[in-house]
């Protein structure tokens, strides 16, 4: 998989730019950070320094303090390095966000294997599966900056707990603001007999390669599931129209969006051909030092391999 980089704004920076703008306009926003910064946070720290609250590398306290701030009337954003805000602080997320529904946003840098160079410890490849076990939380994977800006808007509204994870390699704007509906949770691009359900970097990759697939004879409809839970009836409607379904995710397939597809098919008594593409680590966690592209190659997440799976699906 080739990952294009350019100078466009990252999904993380788009979120914090919007947060800065809302704060500048008067929103009472506090950002707690587990010792993590961002270029887009520098101006927030400069202009609203007392509202940038560094808790140190202490993710459990990151979430708890943010919850307390939110309960004390603030708009609270907790910011930390993935996977730790979810894995280390899962009990806080479970009790404060899922159960008590404290309206705060937990924002985490890194999604899937985007920081694979730092090793397995820094790959939040299970986070989506973990978060799927919880109710009441909107779980967002922006595949463009418009989605990030919508998350910032939702954060300021203080309507519900939000978890958002930012892939550091996703930049730029693709979607128009009026097309992004966090309640619906997904947006479609393209059309064809094969429906691909993906999020984050995989949604971006499919989207970027729709023409390539088409040239090879694969007409696809992409469902970019950027915000879970997806609106069930709209999603079911999409799946009903599909001839075959392929899910693709930069995360473990166990409990991920592919599992979500299978659950929906089961719950609604639908029979479709489905292939789940994602990380399986069938051979265990490799001791070979790898980056994301190498992991995707090893896990069969290449154009050729994905096309082969689509072929099987259509057969």
């Amino acid at each position: 998989m080739q990952l294009q980089e350019n100078n466009a704004t990252t999904v993380r920076d788009a979120f914090f730019n919007a947060i800065y703008r809302y704060t500048f306009e008067g929103a009472d926003i506090c950002i707690t950070s587990a010792d993590l910064g961002a270029p887009s946070l520098d101006k927030f720290r400069r202009d609203f320094g007392n509202r940038f609250i560094n808790v140190g590398i202490a993710e459990q306290n990151l979430v708890a303090v943010a919850a307390g701030l939110a309960m004390g009337g603030k708009t609270a954003v907790a910011y930390g390095l993935n996977p730790f805000p979810v894995t280390r602080a899962f009990d806080q997320v479970r009790n404060l966000m899922a159960n008590l529904k404290v309206p705060m946003t937990l924002a985490a840098l890194n999604a899937g294997t985007c920081s694979a160079e730092s090793g397995y410890t820094h790959m939040p490849v299970e986070n989506m599966s973990i978060m799927r076990t919880l109710r009441n939380i909107k779980t967002v994977n922006p595949s463009d900056v418009t989605i990030s800006e919508k998350v910032a808007e939702l954060t300021v509204k203080r309507e519900c707990p939000v978890y958002v994870q930012f892939d550091k390699y996703i930049r730029g704007r693709v979607y128009e603001p009026e097309t992004i509906d966090l309640e619906k949770g997904f947006i479609t691009t393209g059309d064809g007999p094969i429906t691909v359900v993906a999020y984050g970097i995989c949604a971006k990759w499919i989207r970027d390669n729709l023409a390539v697939f088409r040239e090879q004879g694969y007409d696809l409809k992409l469902i970019d599931g950027f915000c879970l839970p997806l609106d069930k009836s709209s999603f079911v409607e999409e799946l009903q129209q599909a001839e075959a379904i392929v899910s693709m995710e930069d995360g473990v397939v166990y409990g991920g969006i592919g599992s979500l597809v299978m659950e929906i098919l089961s719950d609604y008594d639908m029979q479709k051909k489905v292939k789940r593409i994602g990380l399986r680590f069938d051979e265990g966690y490799s001791s070979i030092y790898r980056n994301r592209e190498m992991i995707f190659d090893d896990e069969g997440m290449t154009l050729a391999s994905v096309m082969r799976k689509m072929e099987v699906c259509l057969a």
């Binding site: 009472d28 506090c30 707690t32 007392n50 509202r51 609250i53 808790v55 140190g56 202490a58 459990q60 306290n61 979430v63 708890a64 303090v65 943010a66 919850a67 307390g68 701030l69 939110a70 309960m71 004390g72 009337g73 603030k74 609270a76 009990d91 806080q92 479970r94 009790n95 404060l96 159960n99 008590l100």
Partner: protein, 274 residues
């Protein structure tokens, strides 16, 4: 607030214990020894220290109280009942199996600002509340009751360091220092002592009191709002788990004990009054 005499507070705490035993023995589930360990602390808070309006529980300027040791929540129910805060609900109907305690899962009941139970979470939430008040220049305080064995959770010390570093002088942590976890005494497991120094090293102003003595609790808790220190306060309240009931007093493995039924309850009450 009309101040009560210490005799009145002792009488009040006794009636709360009576009611707790009556209701929860009938239910057959609860944490008797924890309740008896903390009753005077909660009585001091709800009847002398906390600012709140029983008739207007979501009063914005109320003090916040976070009961981090959620297994101690049982004793709050008789207090709310006594204060007339159960609205039209009967206490027995709320705590019975199938009872709906949803009214406590809001953010505006003193004691249920935070729904405790998972140990080690409440202090961080309390620190966040205190920080919010400080940023907004609000005068309300945040009080947080933690168990001593709860502070084996590392997250407590993440929060304690945070509170000290942020000079949260509007945060008061009360430790129910009964010296017991579930299975053993704290000093037999991993010794917590020197305990006061641990809090001091995090930047807390520490006081140690007898947690069953209103003569010591009230002066330690009273007036903190008028006493600017620039530091959060930690009151280490030395207590006895199961206090007043000899058969349960200061005994390991009694953590989840609750008498079952009227006969058991009567026996416990005899010990308590004897």
């Amino acid at each position: 607030m009309n101040h009560r005499s210490y005799e009145e507070l002792y009488a009040k705490s006794f009636r709360l214990k009576e009611r707790f035993i009556e209701v929860f023995a009938n239910l057959g589930f609860g944490h008797l020894t924890t309740a008896l360990s903390e009753t005077e602390i909660l009585t001091a808070l709800y009847y002398e220290i906390l600012s709140y309006k029983a008739e207007d529980p979501d009063w914005a300027e109320r003090d916040r109280f976070v009961l981090s040791k959620g297994h101690g929540a049982g004793m709050l129910f008789p207090i709310y009942e006594d204060l007339g805060m159960l609205r039209n609900e009967k206490l027995e109907d709320i705590v019975k199996l199938g009872g709906n305690n949803d009214i406590f899962r809001k953010f505006f009941y003193p004691g249920f600002e935070f729904y405790g139970g998972s140990l080690g979470i409440g202090l961080g939430v309390a620190a966040g509340l205190a920080k919010a008040a400080m940023l907004s220049r609000e005068s309300w305080f945040t009080y947080c009751l933690v168990g001593d064995a709860e502070t084996y959770e590392g997250s407590c010390w993440e929060a304690a360091m945070f509170a000290g570093a942020n000079h949260l002088n509007n945060l008061v942590v009360i430790v129910d220092r009964n010296g017991l976890g579930c299975s053993d005494f704290t000093e037999n497991m991993l010794p917590l002592e020197p305990y006061a120094q641990k809090w001091e090293s995090c930047g807390f102003c520490v006081r140690e009191v007898n947690g069953h003595s209103f003569e010591e609790l009230i002066p330690a808790l009273d007036g903190l709002k008028a006493r600017p220190t620039g530091m959060p306060t930690c009151i280490i309240a030395h207590t006895v788990k199961g206090n007043g009931v000899k058969s349960t007093e200061n005994r390991p493995l009694m953590h989840g004990y609750m008498p079952k039924g009227e006969k058991d309850a009567k026996k416990i009450m005899e010990e308590l009054t004897g």
